[in-house]
C-alpha cells in the first residue's frame, strides 16, 4: 500500500484511505434508526445538548438572509432545529458525505413545514463544494470526529464562512468530573454497544462510535486546533460534565 499514513478508526489504526469508507459503512448501517438510537443511548440528553447548541448559534428570527451550512447534517436533526428557531430568512444547506443519511433527512423534511429554506448536498467536509465567504454560520454536530483530517475540515469551514461568520461544533468530549468518569466508562463501553446490537442487530457500529469519542482531542486541544485554522476567539463550553462540548470560533 502506498499510503502509510494511518488514521484512528475507533481504537484501531487503519490506513487513511480506508477510514472514510469504514465510517460510511457504519452510518449506512444505522441511517434510518440514527436519531432513535441517539435517544436510547444518551437517555434523551442529546436533545438538551442540541437545544443548547441552537441557543448558542442563535439564528435570527426575522426575514434577514442567514445562510447556514450544516455539515455531517445527515438526518436533518440540527438543520430542522435551526429552521424552527429562526425566521424566514434562514437557509440551511444540509451536507453529508453519506447519501443514505441525506435521503433519510429529505424524507423527514418533506413531512414538515418551515418558514426558511433548506437543500441537500453530498460533500466531503475536507473538500467542500461551496464558494468562499458564502455562509453566515457553519455547524457540525457529532460529525467532526468522523472526519479523517480534522485540520483540513476546519480550514474548509474557515474558507466558506463570510468574515463575521461563525464556526460551531457540538461533539463528544472528555469528561472532566472524576466521579462521572467511571460511570461514563462503564456505560459507554458495555451498555452502548449492547443497545446497538439489540436495536440494529450489530454492536460494531456503536463500538466504533464509543471508541472514536475517546480518541478525539479534549476540549482545550480542540480549541487550539480551531485557532490554528484561523478562527478568532475560539472558546468552548462543556455540557454534562464534559460528555459533550460546544466549540465555536469567528472568522474575522
Amino acid at each position: 500500500m502506498e499510503n502509510h499514513e494511518t488514521a484512528p478508526f475507533g481504537f484501531k489504526q487503519v490506513s487513511e484511505g480506508e477510514k472514510q469508507g469504514m465510517v460510511n459503512e457504519v452510518f449506512s448501517a444505522v441511517a434510518s434508526r440514527y436519531d432513535q438510537m441517539n435517544d436510547l443511548m444518551s437517555g434523551g440528553l442529546h436533545r438538551l445538548w442540541k437545544d443548547d447548541f441552537i441557543t448558542d448559534l442563535n439564528p435570527p428570527r426575522n426575514d434577514q438572509p442567514f445562510r447556514v451550512l450544516d455539515v455531517a447534517g445527515g438526518t436533518g436533526d440540527i438543520a430542522f432545529r435551526i429552521l424552527e428557531a429562526g425566521g424566514s430568512g434562514i437557509n440551511v444547506t444540509i451536507a453529508d458525505i453519506n447519501p443514505e443519511m441525506l435521503k433519510e433527512g429529505r424524507k423527514r423534511a418533506e413531512a414538515q413545514t418551515f418558514k426558511g429554506e433548506y437543500d441537500f448536498a453530498v460533500t466531503n467536509a475536507e473538500k467542500l463544494a461551496f464558494p468562499d465567504k458564502y455562509f453566515d454560520a457553519y455547524s457540525i454536530a457529532f460529525g467532526i470526529r468522523n472526519v479523517t483530517h480534522i485540520d483540513q475540515a476546519l480550514k474548509e469551514a474557515y474558507r466558506v464562512l463570510k468574515p463575521g461568520g461563525r464556526f460551531m461544533c457540538l461533539e463528544f468530549s472528555h469528561v472532566d468530573v472524576p466521579a462521572l468518569e467511571a460511570l461514563y466508562d462503564a456505560y459507554s463501553y458495555t451498555v452502548v454497544p449492547a443497545i446497538g446490537k439489540v436495536v440494529t442487530g450489530d454492536g460494531h457500529p456503536y463500538r466504533y462510535l464509543v471508541e472514536s469519542i475517546r480518541t478525539f482531542p479534549n476540549q482545550k486541544n480542540f480549541a487550539t486546533m480551531i485557532t490554528k485554522a484561523g478562527f478568532a476567539r475560539a472558546k468552548y463550553t462543556s455540557l454534562t460534565g464534559g460528555v459533550v462540548a460546544i466549540h465555536s470560533g469567528w472568522r474575522i
Binding site: 444547506t93 458525505i97 447519501p99 441525506l102 435521503k103 429529505r106 429554506e117 437543500d119 441537500f120 448536498a121 453530498v122 460533500t123 466531503n124 473538500k127 467542500l128 463544494a129 461551496f130 464558494p131 468562499d132 458564502y134
Partner: protein
Amino acid sequence: MNDTTDQTKDQSAEKNQLVDPALLEILVCPVTKQPLSYDRSTNELVSQAAQLAFPVRDGIPIMLIEEARDLNAEPQP
C-alpha cells in the same frame, strides 16, 4: 398534474431527480472551487477546470471526487 394515460414515468420520482436550482447556482467544484455547469442530458454537474462530472442521484448532487466521472477517461456513450 398530468392526466395523460401514456404517462409511464412516475411524476413524483421524476420530480425527485431535479436539483434545487438555488443549490445549483452555489455549488462549486470541490477540487478547483470554480463554478460548475449543469448538463441536463446526463444530469451531471460539470467542472471544466477539473475535467470531472459530478452525478445527481435522487435529486441530490454527489460532490465527491471519487464518485465523479473523469471527462478524459473515455468518450461519452
